[in-house]
Symmetry: C2
Subunit: 278 residues, 2 copies
């Protein structure tokens, strides 16, 4: 009997939390889940830069890193500092990257950057819910969510607690990555998540010595996959050693280098995303 | 009362299963867990090729793909066919890649290659246990396990149910990958898993047109990390468009091309692994 009572209390608490999440989510006009079928395709890089690109266009943006095992957003953006809690609201204050862009990552909560965080599935769901409820986000035009690769607990949790999220799927052009992206597409269909479009990353590399294009991971694979699945190809980005280096030191200086092919392609992607979510 | 009884029965069943796993694991002389801090560093490729390399040296090898979300082993090896169950033992029969090499992957169990498999954490633990218990593995010199990136349910499950596993950690030389690899190293220390060594992958790319080396993801980062952590660097592998292409079509023809730099480096790694586990 007492067990029943405890169970009921627990369920009531969870329902209250879910209700609070629903209310909180109304503060974000658009929710974008950046996902990928496999890791190492540049998903976090694209999530981070997409958020910065939208903010630089004047939108208010929140960037939420739910890749609990390998959070890379703070490093990519050179964001130091830890999450402090607000005295008034008792909520965590997200880091400010730009005056109109806030960032939340598990790495900014935990101290040692090299410590492994061992998360069992159910714990992850709780953390993701807290990322929304217990953080004092500003009202935003966009909430960009960086999700770990694959179709596990994290994207499923997002799909369940943020039902109007739209997916941006990142892939590289080679077959083994595309086969995983098809799984991500099917995942979105299964959980009724709308797909905004596909981004093809690492699409060709220009040799810095001879200027010729090396198709390391092939090209056009993303375009073909998008066409077959009836999806929009938001754009293709070349593999660019300079971007790798800047990412390592947390710089986005390339964004101001308007003549760079990568910058041109990325700007187009940001504009298309803004258009599609107007 | 009845609930208590059911709980006890369930616990007894789980204990029996764990005992069976312990017995079964005695059939494998060496267990190698190939892991990485982040995805896309070529972990599955190295797990697959390490298994083939050891088998080609004459060892009996089992290759177990526990990357339930993005199983890529069958594709990398061009392995078709599904797991059949044996009439006598009621166990699944692993696929034969070579007369002395068996493979088990979730992809060989499920039909549609593009279907997303949505696994919640606790389910994964059960599947991994079944991969050991309910598969009719031959007695082997090596069980090579391909684990999804990160420090989540899968490596933790392996650490708990296969306590004498040794880790082979794969990384690329760039900082963002190395910071994740340090998390993997700490994870191994936390769960008392011995680390056999590090493999540095995508370490430099030779332009096929001008022959110059492009340090796309920098070089030597793996060596420096290994030295700092007091670990063995098992070897460095270049980024090689031909390997990407062969991986896409499931060929290992490059193994016979003894003059190729990739082949030379890989052969050295296999020999070191064999020496360290003698």
């Amino acid at each position: 009997m007492q067990q029943d009572e405890q169970m009921k209390q627990k369920q009531a608490m969870m329902q209250a939390q879910d209700q609070e999440i629903k209310e909180k989510l109304k503060d974000f006009k658009n929710k974008l889940l950046v996902m990928s079928g496999k890791g190492g395709v540049g998903k976090s890089t694209i999530a981070a830069y997409l958020a910065v690109g939208l903010a630089k266009k004047g939108f208010q943006v929140g960037l939420m890193d739910v890749d609990l095992h390998g959070p890379s957003i703070p490093r990519l953006l050179g964001l130091k500092g830890t999450i402090q809690s607000s005295a008034e609201s008792n909520k965590g204050i997200p880091l400010k990257y730009l005056p109109n862009m806030e960032v939340m990552s598990i790495e900014s909560l935990l101290g040692d950057k090299d410590t492994a965080t061992i998360w069992r599935g159910p714990l992850k769901i709780g953390v993701i819910k807290q990322f929304i409820n217990d953080i004092a986000w500003s009202n935003s035009d966009y909430l960009v969510i960086d999700c770990p690769p694959g179709t596990g607990d994290e994207p499923l949790t997002i799909a369940q607690i943020i039902p109007d999220t739209k997916a941006v799927i990142v892939t590289t052009p080679q077959e083994i990555s595309l086969s995983d992206v098809r799984k991500s597409i099917n995942f979105c269909h299964q959980v009724n998540m709308q797909i905004l479009g596909l981004v093809e990353n690492m699409s060709g590399l220009t040799c810095p010595y001879c200027g010729k294009t090396i198709d390391l991971f092939k090209t056009d694979g993303g375009m073909i996959t998008a066409k077959k699945a009836g999806l929009t190809l938001l754009g293709s980005l070349p593999l660019e050693p300079e971007i790798v280096s800047e990412g390592d030191i947390g710089s986005v200086a390339w964004m101001d280098n308007k003549d760079m092919p990568y910058t041109k392609s990325f700007t187009t992607i940001v504009n298309i995303v803004a258009d599609l979510t107007k």
